[in-house]
């Protein structure tokens, strides 16, 4: 079933209402954002969202292509022109309904997806050498407008329960996406979360100024309204074993336990006090509210912070450090800015917020004071050599070019390994050499009733890829359980 198909009469009329020339002459919307000097003083969301008029105008840019390539760039294949054209004709609830068809968390994706590498990179506008339609901004607009509606959508699908129940380990993007997709299919879904908050990386990892918790909570409440049960403080494989789940009558398990173990670089001095992983730093501040008066969890209050790495988590860490009052925040990355995996927008925001970018630098040693606290880092200057297997030019040290830089806190953000809790707790679950759960194309593991997705399978990816996994696993598990 497709809602708002391209051959609907209203869409044909809408397409003909303006010429392509008229549409393409409209400039791309600029996201309204808080000024940098203000936003480093608080945790308010930086991007303020498009106004209705801005959104309708931006939606008008979309040419409603006969063969929309943007959809192929989306890991969950959202019917992008379908929702955008509903914005253009101001049918905002219909736009949200199109999003909800394939995405459990549109308000989240509209904020954190790397659209410039996905949907927007495939937009026809790129071929015309013009900036693509701001699909991400529009997704956020449609989802937020829906979430701010006074009354609950009355079309909340009343599904007939099929009498089967499934368990989910982990309440991050993969788990929630799976839960939503299975609830729609009539399953009774229970999501088990190890932490004391539902949301996984959306809560402990991504900061408030990029993804407010209230936005995540609205999406979670939506799932609860669909009958999904959320259980906190419960670790599958520890609190409840897989056998116990079967005993409790669950027909299947989806493991979405996420990224675990932070990686460190293994250089001298890395165990000094005030050197920590970005996972630890962000969890203290985002999940435990360290630094907010009245909360018990501590976090170092310091002046000079260095964050090692160039991904989105590194950007979240530098920007968080600025908001925690650090006067000098350095991002130390061994390649050049061109190779940075972080989203362009995060890089731009970090620079506006006064973060110093030390690209082509790599820490080689940390030096401590008499109390065992880090006081300086020795960084090796790098230059770009030949492209490596990833296609990126690999950095090589410049002989003798080592600087010593004073620093009070180092946040290591060089990636994570999969969480070992579940793989080590379930006998017979095949695990790769990297520690990720092995799955087939259906996201099914070596134990037929266990499916897995997200970072526990990928090792470290994005919110939307995790959600895509959740959706795929739901389709496949539903197929399997329906045959039984």
């Amino acid at each position: 079933m497709t809602i708002s198909p391209r051959d609907a009469k209203w869409r044909e009329e809408l397409r003909q209402s303006l010429s392509a020339k008229q549409r393409t002459s409209i400039p791309r919307a600029k996201m309204p954002e808080l000024p940098a000097d203000y936003r480093v003083t608080c945790n308010h969301e930086v991007n303020q969202g498009l106004s209705t008029e801005m959104a309708v105008l931006e939606a008008t840019r979309c040419l409603d292509c006969p063969d929309p390539q943007c959809v192929t760039g989306c890991p969950v294949s959202i019917n992008i022109p379908g929702f955008i054209k509903n914005i253009e004709r101001r049918e905002f609830p219909a736009a949200a309904a199109v999003l909800k068809e394939t995405s459990a968390l549109p308000a989240v994706c509209g904020r954190v997806c790397p659209q410039e590498r996905q949907c927007e990179s495939k937009c026809i506008y790129n071929k015309m050498k013009k900036p693509p339609v701001a699909i991400g901004y529009l997704e956020r607009f449609a989802a937020d407008t829906e979430n701010m509606r006074d009354q609950l959508p009355d079309e909340v699908m009343v599904v007939t329960r099929n009498g089967k129940k499934v368990a989910v380990a982990g309440s991050g993007p993969a788990g929630l996406s799976f839960a939503g997709a299975m609830a729609k299919r009539g399953y009774k879904v229970t999501v088990f979360e190890a932490l004391h908050e539902i949301g996984g990386v959306l809560k402990y990892g991504i900061p408030e100024f990029r993804l407010p918790n209230s936005v995540v909570d609205i999406e979670i409440e939506g799932l609860e309204r669909q009958g999904v049960e959320m259980v906190k403080d419960c670790i599958i494989g520890k609190t409840l074993s897989y056998d116990k789940l079967l005993e409790m009558g669950f027909d299947g398990l989806f493991v979405a336990s996420g990224a675990g173990l932070p990686r460190f670089m293994g250089i001298p001095g890395e165990s000094l006090v005030n050197i920590m992983s970005s996972n630890e730093y962000l969890t203290r501040i985002n999940l435990m509210h360290a630094g907010t008066p009245g909360y018990a969890t501590p976090v170092p209050k310091v002046d000079r912070v260095a964050v090692i790495g160039g991904g989105n988590t590194a950007m979240d860490s530098v920007r968080t450090a600025r908001r925690m009052g650090a006067s000098q925040v350095m991002l130390v990355y061994r390649r050049s800015e061109e190779e940075m995996p972080a989203r362009l927008e995060e890089v731009k925001h970090a620079k506006e917020e006064g973060v110093e970018f030390m690209t082509l630098h790599n820490p080689v040693e940390y030096l401590g004071d008499e109390k065992g606290r880090v006081r300086a880092m020795r960084v090796q200057r790098m230059e770009l050599g030949e492209p490596d297997e990833s296609g990126r030019r690999s950095p090589v040290p410049v002989p003798g070019a080592i600087d010593e830089i004073e620093v009070d806190l180092v946040i290591v953000s060089v990636g994570v390994s999969p969480n070992p809790l579940i793989p080590s707790a379930i006998d017979g679950l095949d695990v790769t050499r990297r520690g990720t759960i092995e799955v087939n194309d259906d996201m099914q593991s070596s134990i037929p009733l266990i499916y897995a997705g997200g970072d526990i399978v990928r090792g470290g990816a994005t919110v939307i890829l995790a959600m895509g996994d959740g959706r795929r696993a739901a389709e496949a598990m539903d197929r399997m359980l329906s045959q039984k």
Binding site: A194, L195, H196, Y204, K232, D233, C234, I235, K238, T239, L240, S241, K244, A259, G260, L261, P262, F264, G266, E270, S271, L272, V273, N274, M276, S277, N279, E280, T283, R284, M288, H289, G294, Y295, A296, T297, P298, K371, G372, N419, P420, L421
Partner: protein
């Protein structure tokens, strides 16, 4: 939310709490710990499970008031609720019949040692327990320990009870007296460090249980990392038990003071 059903004072700042946690009570094994949050503004702190009653659905925690959160927990009364209790975490103790096992606990470390003493005894070991504290009032769980021990050696710094002297002297006297196959030590880091040095001298395999700073306790944050045999290890998922002869206790002690 987990209800406190019973509370007992072991000493001025050490309390025993019996807490409702049926799923954990059913699945925990000796050596496991839980993460506890006292209230909705609280921090996540690791506490070893001292005992459990799967039938009543309760676990026993022994808490020493050393920081703000532990102090708050020690002041809670039966009928009140801990905001969150999650577990059981960590690898359980490897229990087998080694022969003679010396179980040596300092201060509040005796609490997590008790289930290990019990399990070692049930596995057929000759168990000699060495309990140590600064002074008589701080010796806890002596009765329960002696129930599962072939012999209990008490050491106090001031000689107010048992033998006057350090825990290491107690352990060494046993090792010099009879063949010992394994030493298990739980207590303050500095105590475990010196126990390890003592047993290394006598070449007796020694296992310690580490209690480091943790945030999530599930392998995510890395706050609990320690150096064991030159490699980085995470106490929450690789531990909490390690070969005491290979742990870098000096580094661990510095890291424990991260927020002092």
């Amino acid at each position: 939310m987990n209800k406190i059903v019973k509370k007992e004072h072991f000493s001025a700042n050490v309390v025993k709490l019996i807490v409702e946690a049926p799923l954990i009570a059913a699945s925990r094994r000796p050596g496991n710990f839980v993460i506890v949050i006292d209230n909705d503004h609280g921090e996540r702190i690791p506490l070893t499970i001292a005992d459990a009653d799967p039938l009543k659905g309760t676990i026993t925690l022994v808490v020493q008031a050393i920081g703000d959160s532990t102090r708050a927990i020690c002041e809670m009364e039966p009928g009140q609720y801990l905001h969150d209790v999650v577990g059981p975490l960590g690898r359980p103790t490897h229990i087998e019949n080694y022969g003679t096992v010396v179980c040596c606990g300092g201060g509040v470390g005796v609490a997590p040692l008790l289930p290990i003493i019990k399990a070692m005894k049930e596995a057929g070991n000759r168990v000699i327990s060495v309990l140590a504290a600064r002074t008589k009032e701080l010796i806890i769980l002596e009765k329960q320990v002696s129930e599962y021990s072939d012999e209990v050696v008490i050491m106090t710094d001031d000689g107010s009870y048992g033998n006057k002297g350090l825990v290491t002297q107690g352990v060494e006297s046993v090792i010099e007296r009879e063949p010992v196959n394994l030493v298990v030590t739980i207590g303050p880091a500095v105590m475990m460090k010196f126990v390890a040095l003592t047993t290394l001298k006598h070449n007796v395999p020694t296992m310690c249980s580490l209690n480091t700073i943790m945030v999530d306790g599930t392998g995510m944050c890395g706050a609990c990392r320690v150096t064991v045999d030159g490699h980085m290890r995470f106490v929450c998922i690789d531990g909490p038990e390690f070969d005491a002869h290979k742990v870098d206790f000096d580094e661990m002690m510095l890291r424990l003071k991260s927020y002092n």
